[in-house]
């Protein structure tokens, strides 16, 4: 599975598996956007890690993809 680091607010690192789960479901970005209520561009930016969605969008994504939010977005502790 592809793991992409997401730019969080401040120093918060996230792992994002949205693209993998979306392809598993056979959906393109536009279809997923329509189902979740956001634009194709927004889905693309989430997958690239350039936008952190709100909790509502996260929950909608989880529902549509049949996954838990924590499976799609994972908080990664940084090792110091």
């Amino acid at each position: 599975m592809t793991k992409i680091l997401v730019k969080g607010g401040g120093e918060m690192p996230l792992e994002n598996k949205l693209k993998d789960f979306r392809k598993e479901k056979g959906l393109n970005q536009e279809d997923l956007g329509v189902l979740v209520g956001v634009s194709r561009q927004t889905i693309s930016l989430i997958e690239r890690g350039d936008y952190n969605p709100s909790i509502i969008v996260c929950l909608k994504l989880a529902k549509v993809l049949g996954r838990k939010v924590e499976e799609i977005f994972t908080y990664v502790e940084e090792d110091f």
């Binding site: 634009s39 194709r40 930016l45 969605p53 509502i56 969008v57």
Partner: protein, 240 residues
């Protein structure tokens, strides 16, 4: 560290102010600047017809070309399923289209302010009026094309530009990311405008004191700044 930066900035600005004050009093810089601006104004007034026609045609051409090129870029970027929309040129076209109304109005009023010249050059005046009104139609037409194009790639966007509540309904049709970007852009635009208004009030106020000219522009700018601040405050304290 922050305090040090603040005090250093304050000292630097004070030194700059002192230097400007010395220059102004030694070389009558205020009079030189005023004369320079007056000469620019006279040059503008003398060639206003050519400037008006040239500017409007150049702006309209730029809007149209950027729209066509922007449309191609958008279509190209949509060919790859997972790519980011390339809407930079289209966005620039939209921005220039919006700003063009202000430019057209400023140039139009610069032309008609000299009523004697306006009446004596009737054909020229009619041409200016036709171009001015024509530009408003062009603006509406381009706005319609731009919104229609956006709707092709974003079907959920509101596109009835002639609706009196277009801007409100368009904002309501944006998703959370687009709203965030709009508000961020709006905040920085507000901040830049307030700094510009402050600077202009300061400069025009000082010139008015020195040259004894009217304070009309200062009052207009002050009112604009107050309206902006009031709207910002009302939005900030609004719960929903």
């Amino acid at each position: 560290m922050k305090n040090k930066k603040f005090w250093l900035s304050l000292i630097a600005l004070s030194v700059l102010g002192l230097a400007i004050g010395i220059l102004v009093s030694t070389f009558s810089l205020d009079k030189l600047v005023f004369d320079f601006l007056k000469n620019i104004g006279e040059l503008l007034s003398k060639n206003i017809f050519l400037i008006f026609v040239g500017s409007i045609l150049a702006i309209d051409l730029a809007i149209y070309i950027l729209f066509r090129v922007g449309k191609k870029d958008l279509e190209k970027s949509y060919k790859n399923e997972d790519s980011i929309e390339d809407d930079k040129k289209l966005s620039i076209s939209i921005a220039i289209n919006s700003a063009s109304i202000l430019v057209a109005m400023v140039l139009f009023f610069t032309y008609v302010v000299d009523m004697e010249k306006t009446i004596s050059n009737l054909l020229e005046s009619i041409a200016v009026l036709i171009l001015f009104v024509g530009h408003f139609f062009f603006f509406s037409y381009m706005q319609k094309l731009q919104v229609e194009l956006l709707k092709v790639y974003n079907p959920s966007k509101y596109d009835q530009v002639l609706d009196m509540k277009f801007h409100q309904k368009f904002m309501d049709s944006l998703d959370e990311r687009e709203l965030f970007e709009s508000y961020r852009a709006g905040f920085w635009a507000y901040r830049s405008m307030m700094i510009t208004i402050f600077g202009l009030i300061l400069v025009l106020g000082i010139f008015s004191m020195g040259m004894g000219s009217s304070l009309g522009a200062v009052y207009a700018l002050g009112l604009t700044g107050l309206v902006g601040t009031l709207v910002y405050l009302l939005e900030a304290i609004r719960k929903k």
